[in-house]
């Protein structure tokens, strides 16, 4: 082709037009809000030079009401590239073009990339920064959303799907993130709500700001909708990369392996001192996690939500694992509605993507109270039970201290399907704690005693020595072994190695009935 010929020039001119869409003013508009442009975000997320954009020239549909500006791309950039060396697909909404609103072409671009990701078995990342459905296109916009939702569900459990909210996500738009596996938000510049402050003001006469209704802080602390919140967009995107490193590309593969200099035979004596002698004293379970995993590094999910349970990704001997651990520092580590749900969803994700689950248990039971009972602690506790029992990935439990009552069963006991169950010598496995048990069983004797306080103390000690210890369970084979805390890492790594090829046949059925 003659380089100066008309045919080639038309091609290059069009490319120029496309570039001009992203004018300096446009870029400034985004930056002045403290936000990066759709393209800048992609460049940060993907390894440099690996991003291939598709459908850049898809143009907006015609409209019957109002006007639209013709734009190339229809307000969203879609494509694929390599994130930390691995193929991934992305859509990045562009707020500077028609407010990033979802029109028919915009949504069909997204659907196309979703289907591609599913076909290739690679992760799907959504960078959301949109004003919502495009009013001008009416019901077609809504249909567009529905298509996206259906692809989210089709891909759920097949490829990892991550939503990164980097601007507004209102109305129906929030459901796509809700359907995906993990939601990231950036502090102060991203919002998620079904009905915005304006409508809330009109209908309910309540005044509330964007930030207070659906800002990052609200969703990370109160609703739990946001799994991760970062201070700025760069760190948010880095967080996405970090999270991805723990996942396989699809549900047939294993997660990538990271060579570590942290020995698989490391004996950690400090673990012996972690659990305080006083059973009423709390400690930070994250310190325990740090001492066990490779190089003390772990990536916590939903850090600020329902802090009485800790869920995180980490590595043991290079292999990616999911950890669930009761946190004695908050609510004494009891299980409640929110923590049961938080852990249950995490288990389902790990199970879908072949990530082994390690449970560190120190739970005195479920949180009592009218509030919990009336709001369905029963159903939600059952969710956690279901998730554990249904999971077929390797499951290992280590009981650190308390394991009372129903909570003992729920936290992946052997009979529920735990593959290996260990306990530290400080473990107390019983139907209920010593004080409660003694009060019930010896009510008469204590009431009639001359020194009830002393008698109670003696009985509590007897209970601790004879019942609330791990040796009974060990003798019955309910525990595989009571271990020296210092050897926890070694035991976990060895068990996981043994469980590498684990397979369990599940009954043929469409799907079970999770107590949702």
């Amino acid at each position: 082709m003659d380089k100066n010929g008309k045919v080639f020039k038309k091609f290059t001119d069009r490319k120029e037009l496309y570039k001009q869409q992203f004018s300096k003013e446009n870029i400034e508009k985004q930056h002045s809000k403290g936000k990066l442009t759709a393209r800048e975000r992609i460049d940060l997320l993907f390894d440099s030079g690996t991003f291939e954009e598709i459908d850049s020239f898809v143009t907006s549909s015609d409209v019957k009401f109002g006007k639209t500006s013709k734009s190339y791309g229809d307000g969203v950039i879609t494509g694929y590239g390599k994130i930390s060396g691995r193929l991934a697909f992305v859509f990045s909404q562009d707020f500077t073009i028609m407010g990033g609103s979802l029109g028919t072409k915009h949504s069909s671009k997204i659907v196309k990339i979703q289907e591609m990701a599913l076909k290739m078995g690679a992760p799907m990342i959504g960078l959301i920064d949109s004003g919502g459905a495009r009013i001008q296109e009416g019901v077609a916009s809504l249909a567009g959303y529905a298509l996206i939702f259906s692809r989210n569900v089709r891909a759920s459990g097949v490829i990892p799907q991550i939503s990164v909210i980097l601007g507004p996500a209102a109305g129906g738009a929030v459901y796509s993130p809700a359907l995906t596996d993990f939601v990231f938000m950036t502090a102060k510049t991203s919002y998620m709500f079904v009905t915005g402050p304006d409508v809330v003001r009109e209908v309910l006469n309540q005044e509330v700001t964007f930030e207070d209704l659906g800002g990052a802080s609200v969703h990370s602390k109160k609703s739990g909708v946001a799994d991760f919140v970062f201070e700025d967009e760069e760190n948010t995107l880095l967080g996405v990369k970090r999270l991805l490193s723990y996942f396989p590309s699809n549900n047939l593969e294993n997660a990538p392996y990271v060579e570590t200099d942290d020995s698989a035979d490391r004996i950690e004596e400090r673990l012996r001192d972690v659990v305080p002698d006083d059973p009423n004293k709390s400690y930070d379970i994250k310190e325990v996690i740090k001492l066990i995993v490779d190089n003390g590094k772990f990536f916590e999910v939903s850090e600020n939500y329902s802090q009485n349970i800790v869920i995180c990704f980490a590595r043991l001997n290079g292999h990616s694992i999911g950890i669930i651990a009761n946190q004695p520092k908050f609510l004494a580590g009891t299980l409640d509605i929110n923590s049961s749900r938080k852990a249950a969803r995490f288990i389902r994700f790990c199970d879908a993507f072949n990530i082994p689950i390690v449970t560190l248990e120190d739970v005195p039971g479920f949180l009592p109270g009218i509030d919990q009972e009336h709001n369905g602690i029963i159903t939600n506790g059952a969710k956690l039970l279901y998730a554990y029992a249904d999971a077929t990935v390797p499951k290992i439990t280590v009981i650190l201290r308390k394991a009372y009552g129903g909570a003992f069963c729920v936290m992946n006991c052997r009979h529920l399907g735990g593959d290996f169950n260990f306990a530290w010598p400080t473990a107390e496995i019983a139907v209920m704690g010593p004080d409660g048990a003694v009060a019930i069983l010896y009510k008469k004797e204590i009431a009639e005693s001359k020194d009830p306080v002393k008698l109670k103390k003696e009985l509590v000690q007897k209970y601790r020595d004879e019942i609330a210890n791990p040796y009974i369970a060990e003798e019955r084979g309910y525990l595989d072994e009571v271990i020296d805390p210092a050897y926890t890492r070694i035991k976990l790594i060895r068990s996981l190695a043994a469980l590498e090829n684990k397979h369990v046949n599940t009954p043929q059925r469409k799907h079970g009935n999770v107590p949702l």
Binding site: K33, G34, L36, K188, E231, D232, E234, N235
Partner: protein
């Protein structure tokens, strides 16, 4: 120009800003080959790890240094037993920070929190009464000692969350001051 820094590991290149609590900026640039530049000069430093301690060596000085707390990009570093707080920013995130603080008004109230766990011995403040930055507002008993808790802001005491005899954990809110 000093000699190139001996690094043990490679670093991700780019412009970095270390921002102190008071807003002082330290700007660095790390090149592709991990040389660190400050104020247009390549710094000759080395990080030395021996006997379980980390040392930073710069010129004639060698100081023990340790990151004692990290939360995403907020760091607390201990050097020579003195601690410094920094936030690590990129040029863009720094601009964003300035933009957002100028756009959103800072919150009207601040909480005074317990710096360590202990028992409330005495409360010297009263709801509705003003306090000045530095005033002692509460006595917390911990480690066999009575610790005076002072207010880090001036304003009116909006609400007191604790009473004498209460036991508190670290970071528990003690009282709210309206600025």
């Amino acid at each position: 120009m000093a000699k190139k820094k001996e690094t043990q590991n490679d670093l991700v290149s780019g412009k970095y800003i270390a921002l102190t609590n008071k807003g002082k900026k330290y700007e660095f640039y790390i090149s592709e080959d991990s040389a660190i530049t400050y104020k247009n000069k390549i710094l000759s430093i080395s990080i030395d790890e021996s006997e379980g301690f980390t040392f930073i060596e710069f010129g004639k000085n060698k100081y023990p240094v340790e990151i004692i707390d990290r939360n995403q990009n907020k760091y607390e570093v201990l050097i020579n037993n003195v601690s410094y707080n920094f936030t690590v920013e990129t040029p863009f995130s720094f601009k964003r920070k300035q933009l957002l603080t100028s756009q959103q008004p800072s919150s009207k109230t601040e909480n005074i929190v317990a710096p360590l766990p202990g028992k409330i011995l005495e409360i010297m403040a009263e709801e509705g009464v003003s306090v000045l930055e530095g005033d002692a507002v509460l006595i917390l008993e911990a480690m066999k000692m009575q610790n005076e808790i002072t207010s880090h802001v001036s304003g009116k005491v909006k609400k007191i969350f604790v009473k004498c005899g209460d036991t508190v954990m670290k970071d528990d809110p003690l009282m709210e001051i309206e600025k």
